[in-house]
Symmetry: C2
Subunit: 321 residues, 2 copies
DNA sequence: TGCCCAATTTGACTTTTGTCGAGAGCCGTG
DNA sequence: CACGGCTCTCGACAAAAGTCAAATTGGGCA
C-alpha cells in the first residue's frame, strides 16, 4: 500500500469538501476519481481525525442543576447527562457526553493522565477521532494481568490512538504481593519517572470505583471479596486509580495500598483539571469521597446522581448551620 | 422569539445527530418535530458554531517546500496554498487556508491581536464559526474613517463574532494630523491600556501592506501618493498594522509613523505566535521586511511567493558564503 | 514473464438529506 | 377584535450521499 499518495488524496478530498464546501461530485471531478471513492475517502478522513466534527457540550452545563452543583461542591464545571428521556441507555449517554467533554477540555500540547476502569474504556470506545499531534497520554496506574479488555494500558493506548497522540505506558503490575517488592519497583527508574511525571499533566481522566465484591479489584483477583469487606469496615469508601480511599478522600492506611503501583493522590491533585466520570448510581459514596479529597474539578454524571449529590450537599450545609 | 427553547432544541438536535450519530428522521421523532425542521436546526447549529467541523491543515505543512522555507527563514511554521491547480481563485484559496490555520492555532483562553487590511477581512469572511467562549480578540491599530468595509474595528468584530469570542475595540483614528495630538491620545488611559495589553496576546493575525499608490493608506486618505513615494525613497519597505517599516523590519523614522496610533512593533514581537498571511505576489519586498524584522513566526502564502522567498533565501546565503 | 491475491475503484442502486412554497401560529397595532 | 407582518413548521420533491457487488489495478512471487 502506497501510504503517501492515499493520504494526500484523503486530505485533498477532505479539504475541498469540508473547507471549500464543494459537493462530492465536484470533488470527484477535481481529483479525477469517482464520487464513490470520494465518499470513501471522506469516511476515512472522519475516522482518522483529518476532519474533526465536535459539538459544544454547553447545553449540559447550562442546566440549572449543573450550576447549583458547581456552587454546592465547589467544582469548576459539571455536566449532567439527561436520564429522564426515552434515551436507550443512560450509561452510554454519560460516556458519550464524557467523551465530548473530554475532547473539549484537551488543548494542544497537553499531557493527559488516564486511569483505568470500565467507564474510562467505554469513554475511549465512543470517543471520536481527533488530530492532536502534540498531545501525550500517560498511564496513571499499573496493570492488572486479567483478560479484561479495559486494562490500564489499553485505556491509555486507545485514547492516544483516538487523539492521534503519543501514548506513554508503563508496565508494572497494579498490585504486588509484598510491600517490599512494591517499594523496590517504584524505585526503578522507568517506573519512577513515569510516576513523577504525573503531576506535570494538564488534564486527568478517571472514574471512581466502588468498594464491593463487584469491583474490578475483586474481579481481577487483586483482592478477595473477603479482603474487600475488611477494607470496607476499615473505612474504605472508594477506589481511585487503583488505590483505596477513605470517606475523606485520603489514601487508606492499609497493606493493599502500600502494595499498589500507581500515581500518588498528591500528584493527581497537582493536575489542574481532573475530570471524573461516574456512570453508576451505586457509586454515590465513592464519588463523595473523591470530591471530599479534592480529586475532582470537572464532573460528568447522570441526572439522578446529580440530584442525589445536590440533596446531600444541602443536607450537610443545613446540619452545619 | 423565545430564544431559550429554540437554542435548546438546536443544541439537542445537534447533539443527537453529531454526537450520537442518529439519522435526521430519528432525531425528528425523538424531539417530536418534522425532519425538515431538524435539517434546519442542524444548519443553524453549524452556522453558529454549536457544532464545529474543521479539517487538519497538516497537508499544507507537509509540503517539502514549506519545510524548506521554515528552515531557510527560521519560521515556526509555513503553509503553502497550491496555485498550479485549476482552482478558481488563488487569493481566495490562500484566505480559506489562512482561516483554517488560524482556527487551528487558536487555543482556549487565548487573547488574539488582529490588524487590518483586505486580506485580514477576507480571512474573517471565509472563516467558519466556532464556539470559543473565553477568547478575546483585540484590535491592534487605530481606525481609518474611510467607508471601506475592512476597517480595523470591523475586522476585529467580525472575527470575534465568528469565534463567539469577546471583541475589544478601541476608537482612535489610525493617523492624526500632528505628532503632539498623537502623543496626547496615546497617553489617554483607554488607549494606553489597549496598546499595552497587546504584548499579552497569545496570537496575532495580520498581513503586510505594500508601499505604493494602491496601499490602503493612500486609498483611505491617510497619505497622498506623493507622500508615499517620498517614504519609499526614504527606505519604506512595507506596512504592518498601519506603521511603515524599512527593509530591516524596523519602524521607519518619519513624521507619519509618529502620528500613528497603533501597537508598537516590540509589543507585536512579544506575541508568541504571529501569523502573517500574504495573498499578493507583489508584496514580496514588504514580506521580506516583515520577516527580517522578526514580525512573523507563522506564515501562509501562495506557492508562487513561497518559491520566490526560497530562491531569495538561497541567493542571500550563497552571497554570504 | 505471467499468475494470483489483495486492495482499490467503479457504476448502479438505495437511503438520507437539503430545499421550497404553502400554511399555521403568534404578536403588536390600528 | 380583526388585521397585516413575522417567524416557525410541515409535506413533498429534488439533490446529494452512502452502500455494495463486480471489475480493475498493481505489486509480489514463482
Amino acid at each position: 500500500m502506497a501510504i503517501r499518495p492515499a493520504e494526500q488524496l484523503i486530505h485533498k478530498a477532505a479539504w475541498l469538501y469540508y473547507a471549500h464546501g464543494l459537493r462530492q461530485d465536484q470533488v470527484a471531478s477535481q481529483l479525477n476519481i469517482s464520487r464513490a471513492s470520494v465518499a470513501m475517502y471522506l469516511r476515512k478522513a472522519r475516522e482518522t481525525g483529518i476532519v474533526n466534527i465536535s459539538t459544544s457540550t454547553q447545553l449540559f452545563t447550562d442546566d440549572v442543576l449543573a450550576r447549583k452543583l458547581e456552587d454546592a461542591l465547589s467544582l469548576d464545571a459539571v455536566w449532567i447527562a439527561p436520564e429522564n428521556d426515552h434515551i436507550a441507555d443512560p450509561s452510554t449517554e454519560i460516556a458519550v457526553l464524557a467523551a465530548s467533554v473530554f475532547l473539549e477540555l484537551v488543548k494542544k500540547g497537553d499531557r493527559i493522565g488516564v486511569a483505568w476502569g470500565r467507564t474510562v474504556y467505554m469513554i475511549a470506545d465512543v470517543m471520536s477521532y481527533a488530530d492532536l499531534q502534540d498531545v501525550t497520554v500517560v498511564q496513571l496506574c499499573g496493570n492488572l494481568g486479567a483478560p479484561y479488555s479495559y486494562r490500564p494500558d489499553q485505556c491509555t493506548m486507545e485514547i492516544a490512538r483516538r487523539l492521534n497522540a503519543k501514548g506513554l505506558n508503563f508496565y508494572a503490575p497494579l498490585v504486588l504481593s509484598t510491600e517490599e517488592l512494591a517499594r523496590a519497583l517504584r524505585a526503578e527508574p522507568v517506573i519512577r519517572e513515569q510516576l513523577s511525571g504525573v503531576s506535570e499533566c494538564d488534564l486527568a481522566l478517571y472514574s471512581v470505583g466502588a468498594v464491593d465484591a463487584d469491583s474490578h479489584l475483586v474481579k481481577c483477583g487483586a483482592l478477595t471479596p473477603g479482603e474487600m469487606a475488611d477494607l470496607r469496615s476499615q473505612g474504605a469508601a472508594g477506589v481511585i486509580a487503583g488505590q483505596i480511599i477513605d470517606a475523606e478522600g485520603k489514601v487508606l492506611d492499609c497493606s493493599y495500598n502500600r502494595r499498589v503501583i500507581s500515581a500518588e493522590l498528591a500528584s493527581l491533585r497537582a493536575i489542574a483539571r481532573r475530570l471524573v466520570v461516574v456512570q453508576e448510581d451505586s457509586k454515590f459514596e465513592p464519588l463523595l469521597a473523591a470530591i471530599a479529597g479534592g480529586l475532582c474539578t470537572h464532573l460528568v454524571v447522570g441526572a439522578h446522581m446529580a440530584q442525589r449529590l445536590l440533596d446531600h450537599a444541602a443536607a450537610t450545609t443545613e446540619k452545619a448551620s
